[in-house]
Amino acid sequence: MKRNLSLLCSVLMMAAIMLTACGGGGGGGGAATPAASESDSKTGSEYGSAAEKKVATFIWVQEFTTLSPLYSTGWFTSITRQFWNCWAWQYDENNKPYPYLVTEIPSFENGGISEDGLVITLHLRDDIKWSDGEPITSDDFKFTWEMTIDPKNVVSSTYPYDNVVSIDTPDAQTVVMNFETPFAPWQSLWQGMVPAHILRPVFEADGTLDNAEWNNNPSVGCGPYNFAEWESGSFARFVRNDNFFNAPAKIDEIFIRFVPDDASQTAALVAGDALLGAFIPYSEAAKLKDAGITIMTQPSGYNEGLFFQVSEEFSHPAMLDVNVRKAIAMSIDFDSFNQDVNLGLVQTPGSFWDSLPFYNDPAMEPYPYDPEAAKKLLDEAGWVDSNGDGTRDKEGVEFVIQHGTTTRDVRQEFQAVAQQQLAEVGIKLEILNYDSDIFWGTYADGGPTYTGELDLQEWSDAPYGFPDPDVYYWLCSEMPNNDYPSGSNSFFLCDEELDALVQLQSTQLDPAERQKTISQINQIFHDKVYWLGIWQDPDVWAVSPKLTGVKFSGVTPFFNITEWDLTQ
């Protein structure tokens, strides 16, 4: 009986392994290598079908949640989309746009933008096509817009399509977008397309695209690669699109492995089990460099920063004094932190628009580290240690403030440094950490940022729709309250001058005019210390020497993926 039980267990175990092996295929690896040996019995699809194929394995530390452009705006979804989907215009390694699906990027000069800024016209290339050979037409553009704003679809965000009032398609190659008011960040439109000829019948049948098979299994795309396979939690494969309308890719297959742990990603890269890693923590950079792996950084608009809460209702009274905020800025040695903890790979940003030099003009300089000057400012502001407990106070109120952020390691390290350095000038910093879903909980959910619990809030952010410089959450109207519980102004900042400028810039389609406005906003931010840069937060890539031709953009990272190749 027991022997039979053991036998049964063994058989079940082997069956489980065989079933798992049969559950899917794969393909990819290190470099161009012969296909698997004959002795390795193939159970997945396609293996060994070619004598030799170039397979590049990339590591994503976070799995994309969907492949559809409609249902996720997440970073990994967005960058993966560039393998198999397409954008109206792409961005090069200098984050400069160039036409991709269109013949030229609309401007006032070429007539693509009307004089009043309310009509923008796109002229599509006549040779662009989906991977199944169907042409990409203005109908696809209109359908993408319709599906994004249709309330029957539970899309992740309707932005920026909800700014378009209507779209006219006078012919297959012309897309005319109509706006109610000038919409400056219009270039953030068309970052991924959905095929009308595939999905319109689905929408008509189901009344929604929420459950469309295409969302996670996009059989038809328009990028240099075709989607082949995605096994949740494990891997995704993309094979070269031989029907691509531009030059074909040199690498046959992209194999993306999902490895959520940073140290494991490093080990896999060092061991040669992967050729490209993304989101590399600075702490891992030295180990990777020692193994001959190149670390490449690319500005993507993001900067880690301290956001000051300046609310009469919620904030510590000291936070309302601009000189106190300046004192805080001068009490923390950001440069040394970046040198010691971030290994000198990034600098202290002086501006929220640090990675947009055109708009960060004149370039803002960070406040210098000068604790003595900080102490003087605090003394002048009336914050002195009158009771000798080591913490400054004023009118019976101790200078004790709360600094909250997520649980990311490097953020906790910064909190510890800031706590120590602020203590040296007599400011007591209480540090708090939250999981992201709690940290970002809304006013209605009692989230700590939106309910005024934190005097200093820390996270990494970029202008909305980078490389567009747009910002919106400093608007007075964005302050959360019972009537508007989703308000995004967690700083409870209402500066009328700033408010007017933020609204103005979002309607300025002339880059030169907009530059002036953003420069004014930038100056206010600096002078009134509403935001303090901690470190630049570019995309950090680890690239194996086996990969050649690699360039990255901060907006469309894989803009030249077709030129990437593998060395033997």
Partner: protein, 343 residues
């Protein structure tokens, strides 16, 4: 026995209901699933409002629980997020086998769990088998040679193994057996994943990729189990019936493996029986470090995004397994010890 099993199953129903209610209430307070939907970018207020209505997260907790439990196909729901219920609901509820749809991936929970369970089982069952097998061998060996130099050495080694955190064992073993062995020109093991993409997802690939995670999972349990077996074996070996068996002149092997081990195994069956249901839950740390696509990672990925349907689905699966395996353990107990009667 049959009546006993039925009675225990019936007793499990209110228990599971109570567990589901408590877990649901806890999950409703862990975070905002919409907060992290924008990835690196904060979700826009307009999208937050719309998504909250479309996903039904604006409903009172008790209503959400009722929908999760019994479905919403008996009422109208707000599909387009305009605040007005306009369409018949489609959810059947967990009582009718509908675990719902992930808020994050929009995939059915049963599909997500179904994809991961085989991966988790082959890893966890292998780890459990390795653990029990080696723990038995070492535990018996130590018990039979109590206080010998080898027993003392193994005791020290096992305490070290037991006290090492899993993430340390994982990364250290990966560094030694994957990176250093490769550097030294020795046969090396893969770092992450279930297979080498150059080769494909073959049985041999899965086996080779299982070695390090199974080793990592086994180390602490192996240390604990072997000490446990040593203790129970020592206790049994001093019982009168074993002394009688020895005095009858039975071979040592027969005394140890037939007479002593069967009785020493009784408490171990309880421990293993309690462990088995948790095999379904996977191993969060090990699966994460070795990028093994199992239930532990699924749970971690979705709990960090407050994806209530997926997290509740996994927790209820484990809860049901705990109830069932406890009954199975009792049945197995009776099979091992004929003196036990449940009727």
């Amino acid at each position: 026995m049959f009546r006993y099993v039925i009675k225990r199953l019936l007793e499990g129903i209110p228990l599971l209901f109570f567990i589901s209610l408590i877990l649901f209430l806890l999950m409703m307070n862990v975070g905002d699933p919409i907060a992290t939907m924008g990835g690196r970018t904060i979700t826009r207020p307009e999208d937050r409002e719309r998504l909250k209505r479309q996903l039904g997260l604006d409903k009172p907790i008790i209503v959400q629980y009722a929908y999760w439990l019994a479905g919403n196909d008996w009422t109208t729901v707000d599909v387009d997020g305009d605040g007005v219920p306009d369409k018949q609901g489609t959810r059947k509820g967990i009582l009718r086998g509908d675990f719902g749809t992930s808020l994050v991936t929009k995939k059915p929970v049963t599909e997500l769990v179904g994809e991961r369970i085989p991966n988790t089982l082959i890893l966890m069952v292998a780890a459990e088998v390795v653990t029990i097998l080696f723990a038995m061998l070492l535990g018996i060996y130590s018990a039979l040679r109590q206080y010998s130099a080898m027993d003392n050495f193994m005791t020290t080694l096992l305490f070290v193994a037991y006290s090492m955190p899993i993430f340390f064992v994982s990364l250290a073993s990966m560094y030694v057996f994957a990176i250093l062995f490769k550097r030294w020109g020795l046969p090396y093991l893969p770092t992450v994943g279930m297979f080498d993409p150059q080769v494909g997802k073959t049985a041999s690939q899965i086996l080779s990729h299982m070695v390090l995670p199974v080793f990592t999972l086994s180390v602490p349990y192996f240390a604990a189990y072997s000490r446990y077996i040593r203790g129970t074996m020592l206790e049994v070996m001093n019982q009168d019936y074993v002394r009688t068996a020895k005095s009858k002149g039975l071979p040592r092997r027969q005394v140890v493996y037939i007479h002593a081990l069967k009785n020493a195994a009784m408490p171990i069956v309880t421990v293993v029986g309690l462990d088995l249901p948790f095999l379904l839950g996977g191993a969060v740390v090990t699966e994460r470090i070795f990028a093994w696509p199992g239930m532990g990672r699924l749970f971690f990925d979705h709990v960090s995004r407050s994806d209530l349907p997926v997290v509740m689905g996994i927790l209820m699966l484990v809860a049901v397994a705990v109830v069932l395996f406890q009954i199975l353990t009792d049945v197995f107990y009776a099979w091992l010890d004929p003196r036990i009667r449940y009727d």
